[in-house]
Symmetry: C2
Subunit: 150 residues, 2 copies
Amino acid sequence: MSNDNIQQLVNRYVDVSFSVTKKAEALITEQLGSKLTHDQLYIIRYINRVGSCTSTALAEEFEVKKSAITAIINRLWEKGFIQRTRDEKDRRVVYLTLTEKGEELFWRIDKRIQQLVEELISQFEPSEIEQFIETYEKLNHALVEQKNKK
Amino acid sequence: MSNDNIQQLVNRYVDVSFSVTKKAEALITEQLGSKLTHDQLYIIRYINRVGSCTSTALAEEFEVKKSAITAIINRLWEKGFIQRTRDEKDRRVVYLTLTEKGEELFWRIDKRIQQLVEELISQFEPSEIEQFIETYEKLNHALVEQKNKK
DNA sequence: TTTAACTATTCAACAATTTAACTATAAGTA
DNA sequence: TACTTATAGTTAAATTGTTGAATAGTTAAA
């Protein structure tokens, strides 16, 4: 593939992924109200999925330092969305879980997001969506490989 | 499409787009050194493409307030990567352009990014990439439509 | 000419991030 | 057992990006 072609592909990809992310987050902002930031929603979404996890796990998952996680968790804890529970066996470890209030909030926001997505994807063939996400996941895998090579 | 299917698609999409963005930015971080942040690179990339633009245009393009742009531009200006030029006809307007130093920096980083992408996309069929970006652009378009509806 | 609109900036407040230092706990070793 | 090293999490200072409100200067409209 020629340099010009690659240049064009990079530009198209960067533009469209940037634009889509921005627009999707703008849509979701209305659902978040002033209760959560996007990063906070991502964290809550993750904890909801795994049920319970540690700061270290979150830091690895989100590829940031642990102190960054502490800061976000503190804010969510102050708002009453997250609980901290010390492990009795290993007292260094703190397990993070959603409170009932946190679960309820996430459930409500997630439902609204699904409604928005439903409107959106009705315009696509299911096979096109499937192919799109598959290629995206393949790209993700290729990035992991490239990272491991170094 | 059933609710469960939509739920699954949303989850897969959010996960993979988040993951790819993180990993791509991690790869690029090494190229940026301590000279630029990612947002600063996005801004420089845009100005490089259009040649010259205003704060207002950047604020619209990046969907943030003008004061956020002023802050970023100030930092890039302090580092000597960006020039400000007042419009003589309409003295409210300030045109932003890259300095020679800014152009040279962007050129160097962009070249490295292309090399990285080249390694990556060699693993894909050109038609698969083309289809992927087309669907992505279609999604972007659908988001614009949905936004305008409101 | 006065009023309204627009362009950009400043400032205060907050969120997310990194780096470095620190506390507490657990595990390994001599 | 006592010393050392490693791990989990937090704290504090500094930087960056963000919003919202206020402001200065300029242009357009009434």
